[in-house]
């Protein structure tokens, strides 16, 4: 099928083209308590085609894309490509170039042991330290081998083979007829038994605490400490603001060589794109456009240093040599996690859905479990919400020297934002 599509593309009259052929073998297991609700297998292939047409004066490069089903006939595939060429001619984007072969060696494409990884997850979930009062309500396990081949008209032909896994878990805790639940969604490459057990054990402990939580008081503005996966949202906002797309669209005004905040009363962070993180599901050697992923410092000690992004937006920003990284690491904390947990603060470990708006930096989230530290008193709280804007927080952000990995993000284990508005539930 792929050969037929490549041959059609070469004959199509398109000025350039890209093809991604992604094959996935997936195993899935769904449990209610520890009883198997259903199991599923997935054997699929997706072929995406993008064609490019240059304007006569060379100033514009239009593109149009489509998926061609692996069951498509030659006539169907030919009609789709012809249609794409016709459409691309009407899409007037300033011209840019596609990725060229870099001459480097391709990493070996090792097959993924789907069965072994699935077995590891199944065993780990079965052996979690549950008790009579804290246990798993339900969980879902997804394990896949992804084989992704990318080709373009410049001669790039690269293949990445990698594992991609996900576990969704719902934890219950109960006491005196009252039951609560907490939700977790973990993504990873394969199964890291130790980390999964540690994280879910922590969640079981939070479940116990939520049972005795009282409504969050109307605290007003205070310091909020983030020590669980909600913190990812904060750092993803920093990363997004260094993307060429956000900068080209003028949503981000961060500029190379300039500080990202008018003044720093807190820590000056360093944000880097890294090629690999242990057991990350984003360890592919190449990005979606066939560019090799390399290490790059995006922000160094609070000073914007380099952007990243697609070929199109990177070139619009004058960045020739770019790529779309899969993994990021954030460092720069000057205090320990313990030192950040001083004074008056609210540590929120569970949100309904904590969000940082990538466009304006507004933060918002309903508190499902928090610890309100007021002097010597610690009150376990639930309900109410946090709000504010990152533009205010970035100047006075403190993060720990210790780091914690959430799949493709390695970030400070503890982050403290000052002056967050906390709406109580009382």
């Amino acid at each position: 099928m792929l050969d037929m599509i490549l041959s059609l593309l070469r004959e199509s009259g398109a000025d350039a083209w890209e093809v991604t052929d992604s094959q996935e073998r997936g195993w899935e297991f769904y449990f209610i308590r520890h009883r198997l609700d259903q199991h599923r297998a997935k054997l699929v292939e997706h072929i995406w085609v993008k064609v490019y047409v240059r304007s006569e004066d060379g100033k514009f490069l239009g593109s149009a894309s489509a998926e061609i089903a692996p069951t498509a006939t030659r006539a169907e595939a030919e009609a789709t490509i012809r249609e794409l060429v016709g459409r691309a001619a009407y899409v007037k984007n300033p011209a840019y170039t596609l990725v060229k072969p870099d001459g480097g060696e391709q990493p070996a494409a090792e097959p993924v042991a789907v069965e072994r990884i699935a077995r590891d997850f199944l065993e780990t979930m079965e052996q979690l330290p549950e008790t009579e009062t804290e246990d798993l309500n339900s969980y879902e396990i997804f394990v896949s081998e992804v084989r992704r081949r990318f080709l373009n008209s410049e001669g790039v032909d690269v293949t990445s083979v990698y594992p991609s896994s996900m576990v969704e878990a719902v934890v219950n805790a109960r006491r005196d007829g009252h039951e609560i639940e907490l939700y977790r969604l973990y993504k990873s490459g394969s199964c890291d038994r130790e980390q999964l057990t540690r994280d879910l054990s922590e969640t079981l402990r939070y479940g116990r605490d939520k049972l005795v939580a009282v409504p969050t008081p109307a605290i007003g503005k205070t310091a909020v400490v983030f020590s669980t996966d909600a913190a990812r949202e904060i750092y993803e906002w920093f990363i997004a603001r260094m993307s060429a797309g956000m900068r080209y669209r003028r949503i981000s005004d961060w500029t190379e060589g300039k500080p990202i905040a008018p003044e720093f009363r807190g820590d000056r962070m360093t944000v880097e794109a890294v090629t690999k993180l242990p057991n990350s599901s984003a360890n592919a050697a190449y990005d979606d456009e066939g560019a090799r992923i390399r290490p790059r410092v995006l922000i160094r000690e609070g000073i914007a240093e380099a952007s990243f992004g697609s070929r199109q937006f990177s070139q619009y920003m004058g960045l020739e040599d770019s790529f779309q990284p899969g993994n990021f690491a954030v460092s720069g904390g000057t205090a320990t996690a313990e030192e950040l947990r001083q004074g008056r603060y609210l540590e929120v470990v569970e949100f309904s859905d904590f969000q940082v708006n990538p466009f304006n930096g507004d933060i918002a989230g309903e508190i499902r479990l928090g610890y309100w530290h007021d002097g010597d008193q610690v009150t376990i709280v639930s309900g109410g919400s946090v709000s504010g804007t990152m533009a205010d927080f970035v100047q006075d952000l403190h993060c720990s020297r210790e780091q914690r990995q959430y799949n493709s993000l390695l970030i400070p284990a503890v982050t403290r934002l000052e002056g967050v508005t906390v709406t109580g539930a009382e």
Partner: protein, 477 residues
Amino acid sequence: MKAPFSTYLTEIAPALKQLVGLLRKRYGWVSLLATDSKGFSVRISQRAKNVGSETMMTERGCVVRVWQDGLYSEAAFNRFDPADVEGLCAKLCAELDAQLKVLRELGTAVYETPALPDEERTLFVEMETGRLPEDEDIPALIRHLTEVSDAGMEQGRDMLDCMVSAQSTHVCKMFLTERQDLRQSYVYSEGGVVCMVMRDGRNEMSHEGVAERLGPEIFDDLSDALKQALEISQDLLNAERVEPGEYEIITAPDVTGLIAHEAFGHGVEMDMFVKERALGVEYIGKRVGSEHVTMHEGANTVVNVASYAFDDEGTLAGDVTEIDRGILRTGICDALSALRLGTVPTGNGKRENFEHKAYTRMTNTLFDSGKDRLEDMIASVRHGYLLRGISSGMEDPKHWGIQCIVERGYEIVDGQFTGKIIAPVVMTGYVPDLLGSISMVSPDREAFGTGGCGKGHKEWVKVSDGGPYLKAKARLG
């Protein structure tokens, strides 16, 4: 015109039936869902233009569901050669057997469930549409959306960009068992205008959408959407933060829909009853809202983006009264959960696409209308906000907590708008408190289908929700 059923699915139907027959020799029950849904997606802004053929529901592939010894198993595939059905059958069985071997070795217990019924049934539905996405003149659409974007830049103030989008999907699905053959074809479309503005270093983004179970003809006139988006963008730039506290609120139909969906809709998805994850199971027949609250859910509740003829498990579309004048009557249910709960499925078994498992999912979720005039509702507010525009929400079926992030609020003091605008607004609280506080309901009702719905943080499907204006009390922050 009628949206014609997929020629591809029609052609492969005999071979797929052969596959069902072969699998039936091995398993006690077999069904197959085959999909062939085509579409387009066009996004035009001043900074970048994008043309693609993918939408949330474009797909081509199949999933078989088999049952044996109390256990359901599924295999999804999209490489299908009608000339080698036996080969495919052997491959799918081998993959499922390999999984069962691991499960047996680990001593995994099974949640035993009976086989689904399989009564003789055929259905062939081609729904009405104005135009088909596959026939759309995309260059003309690009020109039209570019004109709208240009007009936005010209008419707007503080504009960074004006993005205009249009997506249309022709959905074709076929559900087969030994005795059933159901086929449906329909078109839905959605699009809108996004205005990105910046003033004094502050960024804001407004959105106004259109969505219907119709074809690309809904994009012919986007002038209202543009006008609205431009006005909202200025409101957002002028907005302040709300002083946290409990307020009287009037929810516009879009925010009413968000409450219907997040605050209550997820809480009565009955696969959550099976898992004992929903508080709703304890409230059937009990009061959960005021007398003014009646809520419907179903593909037949209104005609919108989630209005199909049958769901992804072959259950015909329904219209369920979830809450009747404040009393919780029932929930919505997929086919397997219905078997486990001893009830009937409601036509709400949906998949993100053929590759995904079916869960109980919402379709169109709406509050019923009332009799109170909006002017009277506004006049009755001492201090509160008219809430408009939705950003996001998150369900909490176990505890009935609410998280709704509303785009903006317009202050009302002593029955008059003060001109003060707040944004964004985080609305939190306890579902029965919120529904119990509903004291006035307007006669008009609207449904909105521009959004998607996840279950937890995954499994995205098309839904619509809405209702009339509601007056209630809520905590805002």
